[in-house]
Amino acid sequence: MIASILRKLGVELALPLILFGLLYALSASSTNFFFPPLATVLEKFNSLWLGPRFVSDVVPSLLRLLAGYAMACVLGVAIGTVIGICAPLRRAAEPVLEFFRAIPPVAMIPLLIVSMGFGNTMKITVIVAGAIWPILLNTVEGVKAVDSVLDETCRTYQIKGAARLWHFILPSASPQIIVGMRLGLSIGIVLMVISEMFAALDGLGAAIIYFQRSYEIPQMWSGVLMLGLFGFVLSMVFRLFERYLLAWYHGARDLERQN
């Protein structure tokens, strides 16, 4: 039992450790100003990001992201559900939505800066404006495609209105909605960083750009590493959340796959 866990761990860690080791070794003797040894970067990482900068930069970034992302989820699912259920509305909205979602959200940043200033409101608005699209569109898709037999079942058992939405439509659409939320999270992170790079006094993006401009290169790379970890950890958290919410879906699909 222990042996199998260890073996699994070994498989999971083998390649990453090899790559890490290679990078470490190859960069150890680097004298390139722009690509310092991995050891130096790690040292800066330790002193900066596991230290004071965590509170002063990572936390504000995280809060902005969460605020924007939460709003994008709520609005995206709400609006997406309304549009998805009402067929004529959906037909009317489809081209409009396709257009809006094609606009790079980054393009809105300078425009929002002039109308909203440099503060948190602007950044959160940017995050919402970008993250909402995959959530909204995937909600529409999910709500649109419900199983016809289940639909007939609901009708014959008089399950209508709000109950139908809560017990049937939303759970049925949830796998698709979650796909949208996953994409929305990635987009949210990107926009969080970029909006901070443009205009902020604190935050991960701001810190990285600051280091880059003042040519503090190892610190800059340590910031990049922190950003990578940030994305990775959030992605893992999302995974756990998804596994809990969609336990039924994964179970049913695994069974289907076996047959």
Partner: protein, 272 residues
């Protein structure tokens, strides 16, 4: 037996259903009339393409008839009637995969605003009746096909409908399970005093289960034969199927279906 009890629970009068497309008009159901009384177990058989599913959807209020009427419990069917419970053939797709067995059976009762204690009782007794009390907290996809269909049946039973309609419910399970499910249906019918309309393509099953077998013609469908089944009760797989009466009835139904396949009904359809 009072007059109320012998009145028809389901009354189909001159039902006609036609589908129109760009090229043609097809009449699924020509002229169908029959009554079902309280407590009956009525089986409906017919050749492929006999519009059995169309009839079912009309009964269930899922499709509007082109002509004619369907009345359930005295009032006309314009939308799914409250007093009717349907058990679909695709049991896998008719159960909510995100709900446990218990939650699945309970859901229609919640919509009826039945108080919690009463709901529990109904759900428990229904699951007990289909022998799934131990699987109450499993998910449908964790159960076998036969068990899933039993959950669907339990749900229908717990709903306490005036009429239970089943659409070829055992077509997609293996023969052994089918025999068990047939006996389960008979038991439930007796225990819960149900009125059952059972659509099937299996002649043996229809004669085994029903007190009456309606044989439908091919499209445009009408009732070709109305066969009373007076086999002794209680029916058992071992005994009933070797009764002489069984073979006769079976043959009569079989002949009816052969006839139905050969002669298409009066062709009012196929306009261009």
């Amino acid at each position: 037996m009072t007059g109320v009890e012998t009145a028809a629970v389901v009354s189909v009068q001159n039902l006609n259903k036609a589908y129109e497309s760009k090229e043609r008009r097809v009449e699924a159901i020509g002229d169908l009339s029959f009554d079902v009384r309280h407590g009956d177990f009525t089986c409906i058989v017919g050749p492929s393409g006999a519009g059995k599913t169309t009839l079912l959807k009309c009964l269930a209020g899922l499709l509007a008839p082109t002509r004619g009427s369907i009345r359930v419990n005295g009032h006309a069917v314009t939308s799914p009637p409250e007093e009717m419970a349907i058990v679909f053939q695709e049991y896998g797709r008719s159960l909510f995969p995100w709900k446990t067995v218990r939650e699945n059976v309970e859901l229609p009762l919640r919509e009826r605003k039945i108080p919690k204690a009463e709901r529990q009782r109904l759900v428990d007794s229904a699951l007990e009746a289909v022998s799934l009390a131990n699987s109450a907290d499993s998910y449908p996809w964790q159960l076998s096909g036969g068990m899933q269909q039993r959950v669907a049946i339990a749900r229908a039973v717990a709903y306490q409908p005036k009429v239970m309609v089943l659409d070829e419910p055992f077509a997609a399970v293996d023969a052994q399970t089918r025999a068990d499910l047939e006996d389960l249906m008979l038991r439930l019918w007796g225990e819960f005093d149900l009125t059952v309309i059972f659509v099937t393509h299996d002649i043996d099953e229809a004669v085994y289960l029903g007190q009456r077998v309606l044989v439908l013609s091919s499209s445009p469908t009408r009732v070709l034969d109305d066969v009373p089944v007076d086999l002794p009760e209680p029916r058992t797989q071992a005994q009933t199927r070797i009764e002489p009466g069984f073979a006769e009835l079976r043959t009569r139904v079989y002949r009816g279906i052969q006839l139905a396949k050969k002669a298409k009904g009066p062709s009012e359809g196929a306009h261009s």
